[in-house]
């Protein structure tokens, strides 16, 4: 089985992206994004201890160690903030640096662990092709691809089987509870999947890219759709696109692969954030300024209507005075309402409402 090393690296990255981006959707929706920050750092400790315990980087031992330390992190964080001494974010910010610091010291103290401290952060996906798996002396391909592939199957089945439970417990915890869907169990299962994904992905891309793939594509997807199923698909697609483009850019510019992938997730998010339909900054800004103008328009017409009703006259200058607007803005508005024939000016330069104007006011008040 000979696959080019480029393809193995891209394949590994794509699998990491797909794994993280799918699970990440639930983290983002459940407001637990920073939990992935904590877990992806503290798995280091479990991995190091596992390596110590079995005397080598056995995949199963590493995964078990990592998952256990992930669970330890979650439990410690919850223990701390349930005790009422700290808020949740403070608890996260204390537990994971502590566990990570212990991990770093263990790594540097024991020379035989073969974990490079920097690579803990930004991984060593470059070496994925060289780490092959043997089955009875037979080279069956990249180890990371195998592990990530199995994880992908696990993640997909997790989401498919528990889709209803995940959905309900994410959007309405109390409903899930009353429907007997055990939101707490779902919560812990999800956390175990997060920890497992983090460990496996951590091995190839490092802590920070794990966070990037967990959070950034899912957040971008959140800005593009309201449907959970679509959000999952978009998130995974964006993750994969980032992985591929990121890899190509890294090769082109001769820079860190994982760093480049994280940067691309950010650029894609930025594009969605600025130019996205409906929720993007541009369309949001357009909509808001249009809405503001519309509201101000009705305010003016309502004002004129009210003043006429109590036998007072309204002119452009009295308008700016009584509504507290600048002269220029009042002028702009008064020109607009005359153009649109909402009002007419009488000989003294005062406004009267036309039928169209009256209708506009009535429409709004309904």
């Amino acid at each position: 089985m000979e696959i080019s090393s480029d393809l193995i690296i891209i394949g590994t990255a794509v699998l990491v992206a797909a794994n993280c981006a799918s699970i990440g959707v639930f983290l983002v929706l459940r407001k637990m994004a920073m939990m992935s920050d904590a877990i992806s750092h503290s798995v280091l400790l479990g991995i190091v201890i596992a390596v110590f315990a079995v005397g080598g980087r056995e995949p199963v031992a590493v995964i078990v160690g990592g998952v256990l330390s992930g669970i330890l992190t979650i439990s410690l964080v919850e223990l701390l903030y349930r005790s009422g001494k700290l808020k949740q974010d403070s608890s996260i910010g204390i537990i994971f640096p502590f566990l990570f610091a212990i991990g770093v010291i263990l790594v540097t103290q024991a020379g035989n662990v073969h974990i490079d401290v920097e690579h803990v952060l930004y991984g060593s996906i470059e070496f994925a092709p060289f780490d092959t798996l043997y089955l009875d002396e037979l080279n069956i391909g990249s180890k990371s691809m195998w592990v990530l592939g199995i994880l992908a199957i696990a993640n997909v089945s997790f989401i498919v089987i528990l889709y209803k439970e995940l959905k309900i417990s994410t959007f309405d915890k109390s409903l899930a509870l009353s429907a007997g869907l055990m939101p707490l169990l779902v919560h812990y299962l999800l956390m175990i999947m997060v920890a497992t994904t983090a460990v496996v992905a951590f091995e190839s891309v490092g802590a920070i890219l794990v966070i990037a793939f967990f959070i950034v594509p899912a957040s971008a997807a959140f800005l593009l759709t309201d449907r959970l199923s679509r959000m999952l698909i978009i998130s995974v697609s964006l993750g994969i696109i980032s992985a591929v483009i990121g890899y190509l850019f890294a090769i082109f510019a001769d820079v860190s692969i994982s760093g480049s992938m994280a940067t691309i997730t950010g650029i894609i998010f930025g594009l969605v954030w600025i130019f996205g339909p409906n929720r993007g900054l541009v369309s949001r800004w357009r909509r808001i300024s249009k809405q503001r103008f519309e509201v101000d328009l009705v305010i003016v017409l309502t004002h004129i209507h009210k003043e006429l009703g109590s036998d007072r006259q309204v002119s452009t200058s009295s308008m700016s005075n009584s509504l507290g607007w600048t002269k220029e803005y009042s002028k702009k508005l008064s020109e607009f309402i005359q153009e649109q024939k909402f009002v007419e000016k009488n000989t003294q330069g005062n406004f009267t409402l036309t039928n169209i104007g009256l209708k506009k006011v009535e429409n709004y008040s309904n």
């Binding site: 204390i94 990570f100 920070i208 966070i211 990037a212 950034v216 959140f222 760093g259 998010f269």
Partner: protein
């Protein structure tokens, strides 16, 4: 024997030239981040510090790329600008989209860090200058501090404290009750900007000693520990600064005894240990005293209820 050893390490601060600066630098970081961390914790922005610390990394890369020197002030300026920018992006995401704060923090943190890694690896690939001096910002390398660095850190720290002392009253009211502060006429927006800037400076100082990844701990842990001992903001800030400074000194001393033990992680473990001790032993809220109190409470609870209600009556009697 052990005592002697500890004593000799301690004396090392005065005799050992390198250790002196390492300890001093770490202490400056601890004091500054300890004091300012109180505000991040009280404003429920604990992880904000994490995000801006990560966001600082590309700033270091850019500063080096454009200026081509490892002048620490310049690198710090670059770091500060990007830390600031990262903070603003986080706020902008939460203000203009439906994305919640936690995800916004995660986006800033991971993307900026990724960009930073790209820049550092680029610097490495164009060769010439080894990036050896730059990746120390990941975990910090207090051991690399030299006299001029420490002087720079000292000046920045003094700047932070001057602003903190000058605007203490204003920072306090905007943190506790911002709408009331606004009704009094304090420009809440500008005060928030100022406070964030000071925190950015503290983070930038921290990049030298504990690095990007562990910085968040230096902001939160001392403050959380101090809060266990006092219910007064001023005392909390002072105590938090002391805890932070102490962990800097102790951490750098311990790491100087062992080969290859980086200072950052040791400092973080030290401050977390101080926090743990505070949880157990603090008189007001500690587990130990709570346990003792609970034992005694059951006996005297009846009397207590009586005296409390008497007191209440007394108080309300003279209204």
């Amino acid at each position: 024997m052990i005592l002697e050893e500890i004593l000799s390490i301690f004396l090392g601060i005065f005799t050992d030239y390198t250790l002196r600066y390492v300890a001093l630098g770490s202490a400056i970081l601890g004091i500054t981040s300890g004091a300012l961390g109180c505000f991040t914790v009280l404003r429920k922005q604990s992880l904000f510090g994490d995000a801006i610390a990560h966001a600082a990394l590309p700033g270091i890369g850019f500063a080096y790329l454009f200026a081509g020197t490892k002048d620490s002030l310049l690198l710090m300026l670059g770091a500060a600008i990007f830390a600031w920018f990262g903070g603003m992006i986080t706020l902008a995401i939460t203000n203009t989209t439906r994305i919640k704060q936690d995800a916004a923090l995660g986006i800033t943190l991971s993307v900026f860090f990724g960009l930073g890694i790209v820049l550092l690896s680029y610097l490495q690939s164009i060769g010439g200058a080894s990036q050896g001096g730059l990746d120390r910002f990941l975990f910090g390398q207090a051991a690399a501090l030299i006299e001029s660095d420490v002087i720079n850190l000292g000046i920045l720290s003094a700047l932070c404290f001057t602003i903190l002392i000058l605007f203490y009253k204003e920072f306090k009211i905007t943190t506790f009750d911002s709408s009331f502060g606004q009704s009094l006429g304090f420009p809440i927006k500008y005060l928030n900007v100022l406070l964030t800037s000071v925190i950015v400076v503290a983070v930038v100082i921290g990049l030298h000693t504990v690095g990007v990844v562990l910085m968040v701990s230096m902001l939160i842990a001392p403050a959380a520990a101090a809060r266990q001992w006092t219910s007064n903001l001023k005392n909390m800030i002072i105590l938090s600064a002391i805890f932070g400074g102490l962990s800097g000194i102790i951490g750098s001393m311990i790491s100087s005894t062992a080969e290859g033990m980086s200072t950052g992680p040791v400092i973080v473990i030290t401050i977390t240990a101080i926090l743990g001790i505070s949880f157990v032993f603090s008189p007001k809220q500690g587990y130990l005293f709570k346990h003792l109190r609970n034992q005694r409470k059951s006996q005297i609870s009846l009397d207590n209820i009586k005296t409390i209600s008497d007191k209440e009556k007394e108080n309300h009697g003279n209204i």
